[in-house]
Symmetry: C2
Subunit: 318 residues, 2 copies
């Protein structure tokens, strides 16, 4: 993939909005302003986003497009945000058209997990794969699915919600009344609570703050058998969803990012073991399970890539 | 879709091989010979398949292609059968090329569950959908997945194995050491055994033969609360996998066939209820869960459609 034009990537998080100017695989202007999301009205925040973009465009005239990743339910072809998970008041807002009108540049709007997946698929650890699944492990579990060399958005553009898939038909009840939702087992907070319980059952009292993924990684690396068992249990549950994705979609690879993935082989070694143990040979033998290349910048890069691609294929209204 | 040419569809089952001559949506020669699969050598069976095709071609000169659906692991682009689940000796057999050489017609080879799904997608209850999942409920659970208006075969052409996906990360251990495999809960035999147990716990002794899907459908329709509860439990478990497919792929519809689906609303009513109960609105509101149009003939029709399409797009070697 050749890049000559620049694009702005906008990573719209639950509490703040980060900007980046992207050329090729790199963010070349790393520290533009970060905006909070708690403006009284969506229109004021949209104006602030547009103003930030206009400032960046003045500094980088090679910017040709804007891509905005949002945490919620968005209709990518129309650029309409239906609602945002953790940002009140953002209901049925035509963000793409508003940003485009205010900045004079073509824009795209994409779900943030899809944008992160696109970054890995086009430029990161998933480059070259035609059948790929990307996960982000954090407070929740996000995902993006690539099949036949295409991003899977689904009928209402809400595909890729790996964290809501069930690993137990009669299990813990999730945010949408869904039993056994993966993220209710392997989310940051649930992992800490399960680890605290495992220590307690072994006669050791720990605070939740002493059961962060980083703390459990350090403990496991130092040989703590309780911590090792916690990671094994975590990996076994996550492996259930990964194996399900394999049986359904037979991907070439999983790319796994997010805070918990920073544990590296503490996570990946038992995860590969558990996934391999429950698949037949054709599914298992060529499968890769690898860490993400990008970190916090994945969303910015993915949005910028999508914006530039859309510009180049003239799929944009501008 | 216009059909002017005919094709032979070959449905290669575990114990017998059925043939049909297909024009458009219909099998026009319904009762050609049925071959057993227990020939001493694969080559003898392949010759018998070819001879049957040659006889049909002599009767129907408009036949332009042959499609063969097989129960196992097949590389569709190369036409090589890696192995068949219940037919010994079929390892690494280039069935497509052998049949093509022997009959003089272009051939395709496809996984049988994919072929059944294609019949529903192109001509049946799934016609018009771009994001579709087809299931067959019987002794096992087969599936086919359509995303972005394309059949999903995956990296090694083994995608769509809905029956092997897990509904319980620590559940019943499946054929591939996979815990909680759906078909170990909703396969014909498991459904009967679970129903027998439910009756027994209520003080009623039944043979397994009295717990077939047809018997349980009749009992539920007559108002038997135990049978109704069995169907509700069945639907709840199947709903777990359907909901997982929704979160991952956001399909427009599920098309469900196979013996158990003949229970009709006895199955579909609780199934729709359980699926809807564990999905958020964007996933749920437009989702269709419908019975398959085709029955035993789905494999024959799907193979014939794939063969004709491949001929028309000149993707075949001949």
């Amino acid at each position: 993939m050749e890049f000559t034009n620049k694009a702005i990537g906008v990573d719209f998080g639950g509490t703040s909005i980060k900007f980046g100017v992207v050329l090729g695989k790199q963010i070349i202007a790393e520290a533009p302003p970060i905006l909070p999301t708690d403006y009284p009205k969506p229109n004021d925040l949209i104006q602030a986003i547009a103003d930030t973009c206009i400032t960046l465009i003045a500094q980088h005239p090679e910017i040709k497009a804007i891509g905005c990743g949002v945490p919620g339910f968005v209709n990518t072809p129309t650029g309409l945000i239906h609602n945002l998970t953790n940002v009140p008041g953002w209901v049925d807002i035509p963000l793409r058209d508003l940003l485009s009108q205010k900045t004079g540049l073509p824009c795209i709007v994409e779900n943030d997990a899809n944008a992160m997946g696109v970054a890995e698929w086009k430029l990161g650890a998933g480059a070259g794969y035609q059948h790929l699944i990307c996960l982000t492990l954090g407070t929740g579990v996000g995902g993006a699915i690539i099949v036949n060399d295409q991003l899977v958005r689904g009928a209402q553009f809400v595909a890729g919600e790996l964290g809501q898939t069930s690993i137990h038909y009669n299990g813990r009840v999730g945010a949408y009344n869904n039993p056994g939702a993966l993220e209710d087992y392997v989310g940051n907070n649930e992992f800490a609570a399960d680890a605290q319980r495992a220590y307690f059952e072994a006669g050791i009292e720990k605070t939740l703050d002493a059961c962060t993924p980083a703390a459990l990684d350090a403990a496991a690396t130092a040989g703590c058998e309780i911590a090792i068992a916690c990671w094994d249990d975590f990996a076994r549950k996550l492996a259930c969803t990964l194996a399900n994705c394999c049986w359904l979609l037979n991907p070439e690879a999983f790319v796994i990012g997010g805070g918990i993935s920073k544990a590296g082989e503490t996570l990946f070694q038992p995860l590969r073991k558990h996934v391999a143990a429950q698949l037949s040979a054709p599914f298992r033998d060529h499968l890769q399970i690898v860490p993400a290349k990008f970190s916090n910048e994945a969303g910015i890069i993915g949005c910028a890539v999508l914006a530039l691609e859309a510009t180049e294929t003239e799929q944009l209204q501008s």
